[in-house]
């Protein structure tokens, strides 16, 4: 199965969710700043990267995990992705799209805008990290729910 975690920019919440899914981040504690910053693509993508679907890795069940940023086009993106998958004969058991946006808080939005749009990383990144840590348990719960449903 191909699992695509998506959010606005594909730089923070979706990276965090994918990393939890792949076991790169803990599920029994909130990760440290160093653990988050060292994640691949964390707080790196910019506007021209939106729409790029990046491969993150394979989980313990050999499911492929991807991330992408799709700005405010969540519904359009999901309709397109499921529709194109069907054209190729793939169903919901082969491709799963997971939006992480419900767990994005104002700190992540403000920090993401400051860091990625205004390119003031020194100010934006600490705000993002505070936001990710604040929503961390919700994202862990989301990932656990995804893993439970795909294993059933």
């Amino acid at each position: 199965m191909k699992i695509i975690y998506h959010c606005y920019g594909g730089a923070h919440s979706s990276i965090t969710a994918a990393s939890i899914h792949l076991g790169w981040l803990p599920t029994d504690r909130v990760p440290s700043t160093e653990e988050l910053v060292s994640l691949p693509y964390f707080d790196r993508p910019v506007g021209k990267d939106h729409g790029n679907i990046r491969f993150m890795g394979k989980d313990e069940f050999k499911n492929e995990v991807y991330v992408t940023g799709r700005r405010n086009a969540s519904r359009v993106f999901e309709n397109m992705a499921y529709g194109v998958s069907q054209i190729y004969g793939l169903g919901s058991n082969d491709v799963r799209l997971v939006s992480v946006m419900p767990y994005v808080n104002w700190k992540m939005m403000l920090g993401g805008f400051t860091s990625r749009k205004l390119m003031i990383t020194s100010i934006g990144r600490p705000i993002i990290l505070a936001g990710v840590k604040y929503s961390y348990w919700q994202i862990v719960t989301l990932v656990q729910r995804v893993k439970t449903t795909i294993c059933l």
Partner: protein
């Protein structure tokens, strides 16, 4: 849809544009929340032609479609994704806005006017991508 119609030879003359638009399956009835779903238009020269609505994010969705095809590609068939959003006329944009305001009759009129204004641009765009078509006066 204009591009698909031109490529498949469903639309050959400019004065057929209005009739072509009105004959489209679901014209005027597709809901906003369905935007993004690919629609199969037809097959020509062993080529399957689909359309995808992109709302305001044409380049993002174009990129995402190409990337997704690479992700899920299960065969070696050639694929081509052509973004025709640059050919969109202000008439069509006005029609889309009116449709969101549920002013369907006015919306459909604007969209038909827009389609007539766009057909040349769309035809040139297709030719630039190596997709020959004939649109006659």
């Amino acid at each position: 849809m204009l591009a698909a119609g031109l490529y498949l030879g469903l639309l050959k003359r400019k004065d057929e544009v209005s009739d072509f638009i009105k004959s489209l399956r679901g014209f005027g009835h597709i809901r906003y929340r369905e935007i993004g779903t690919p629609y199969f238009v037809g097959t020509g020269n062993n080529v399957e032609v689909y359309t995808i609505g992109v709302a305001k994010e044409s380049s993002l969705i174009e990129r995402a479609v190409n990337e997704l095809i690479n992700v899920i590609d299960v065969d070696d068939k050639e694929k081509k994704v052509i973004n025709v959003s640059s050919a969109l006329s202000p008439w069509t944009k006005a029609g889309i806005l009116l449709r969101r305001l549920h002013m369907m009759a006015a919306a459909n009129w604007f969209i038909q006017v827009g389609a007539r204004a766009e057909v040349d641009k769309v035809a040139k765009l297709l030719k630039r991508h190596g997709m020959e078509n004939e649109i006659l006066e």
